[in-house]
Amino acid sequence: MRGAQKTFSEPGKPAIEVLSGVDLDVAEHEFVCLLGPSGCGKSTLLNMCAGFESIDGGTIAIDGEPVMGPDPRRVFVFQEYAIFPWMSVWDNIAFGLQGRSDAQRHEIARHYIELVGLEGFERAYPRELSGGMKQRVGVARALAVNPDILYMDEPFGALDSLTRLNLRSQLIQIWRREKKTILFVTHDIDEATQLGQRVVVMSARPARIKTIVDLSGLAYPRDIDSAEYIQARDRLFEEMGVSTRV
């Protein structure tokens, strides 16, 4: 991948205009957060990037190739636990590895189970896991097929704040190690400040890009007590039109 290009614009559906003319370029190995108010259409944009929803105008292209449908080279991690409850942790993580030899499947599944720290839970079923563990299975299942891009749609939204913080730092470690491009949708300003190299701030529906905040100056792992961090966060609060005082 040589600088993925996504340009999207939509002249508007007859009923509701969800996204109006979004232009965005994302580079290889970049971590980009899409930040916007709930229901603004950022999830829709992500679903279109993944090929789950059709594009009504404009184009979304990856390596110059327009997105035509879902593809294992770009894997989606859903907010709802989309891991399969009828499969064990092991089978979930190995789900995308059909067509490979048993030995290969075994080796890859083993590697990602360790990466997300789920050793000992291989034979467990999702209902026996906590929310955070389920989402780690989701991330491992996505990584197992070695995709170029991860689309993450508020993946930690349903978790408690401690687990969320924990998983974010794990995600940063994984991203740096596995060198994926990540497009991460969130409505949480702190989450965007902690994760993104760039934060794309989106307006309320119909979603447009309000501004793009470059946070590549903040080194990982980010110190959430540092002055630079707080400055960056306050900038996002301001862009979102929210007060920093409660």
Binding site: F76, A82, W86, Q98, Y125
Partner: protein
């Protein structure tokens, strides 16, 4: 007191009180010859009725109650299995392909509310022998709930499962086997339980009217030939007990790991 004990003690106590009450209400009339034929039997007389049904073997090797039970259970199982064989695939197709659903659902919904009892005259006219007659009746009374449950199960599969599977390049037969079928199994199983319950209710009615053997026939014979309420009540209790057994058989499947998730208490 262990929790296991607690589970048992309440229903046992209720049963004991009810049997005692039953005894008190029926015992007084037990020695009145004038109403001997029509009075309700005492609990003990029902126990003797059981004994009678378990010892009389009219021209058969097995006792009456056993052979009748076997006949009824066999018919329900045969009709129910045929209904599953056709109803589950049909329902899955209807759930997956909107066109199939549009084409077939009105017909299924038209036939579904017709009481299975209404099919009895048709069964009598169409089939001469007891077995095909009763199996046909069980088939028509169970296939519609099974088909409807299977169709709804597929339609209710959360979109994220289908999208996830598609994301990993899973399609066609593999999508069906690994995602669509397992995702709909819990709801299908609930439909099967309902259908089997209906089938067990219908078989008794069918045998009373249209068939010459089975538990329904045993009740009818006790009324027509011997006029013995004790035998009727004993047979009814047997019907209830077998019904519990059939339901428990299907419920055991709910504990299979691949299905259990569908029944876990929702957070």
């Amino acid at each position: 007191m262990s929790s296991r004990w607690k589970k048992v003690i309440a229903p046992v106590a209720v049963a004991a009180v009810l049997v005692a009450l039953w005894h008190l209400l029926t015992y007084g009339a037990a020695n009145e010859p004038a109403i001997a034929k029509t009075r309700f039997p005492t609990p003990w007389e029902v126990v003797l009725g059981f004994k009678h049904l378990l010892t009389t073997r009219p021209g058969e090797k097995a006792p009456q109650l056993v052979s009748s039970t076997v006949a009824s259970v066999f018919r329900v199982m045969a009709g129910f299995n045929l209904a599953m064989l056709l109803g589950i695939p049909l329902g899955l197709l209807m759930g997956w392909y909107a066109g199939t659903y549009r084409a077939l659902n009105p017909l299924v919904q038209l036939l579904r509310p017709i009481s299975p009892i209404a099919w009895i005259p048709i069964a009598i006219l169409m089939f001469k022998n007891d077995e095909p007659r009763s199996i046909f009746l069980i088939f028509v009374s169970t296939i519609f709930p099974i088909t409807t449950a299977a169709a709804a199960a597929v339609q209710n599969i959360p979109q994220v499962y289908i999208r996830s599977a598609a994301n990993f390049g899973c399609d066609g037969w593999s999508l069906f086997k690994k995602v669509v079928l397992p995702a709909s199994l819990p709801q299908i199983l609930t439909g099967l339980r309902l259908a089997l319950g209906v089938g067990w209710i219908v078989i008794v009615a069918a045998e009373m009217i249209a068939v010459r053997s089975g538990l329904g026939r045993l009740i009818q014979d006790a009324r027509d030939a011997t006029g013995r309420l004790d035998l009727i009540v004993a047979t009814m209790i047997t019907i209830g007990a077998i019904g519990i057994g059939l339901d428990a058989l299907v419920r055991r499947l709910e504990n299979v790991d691949q299905i259990k998730w569908g029944y876990a208490k929702r957070g």
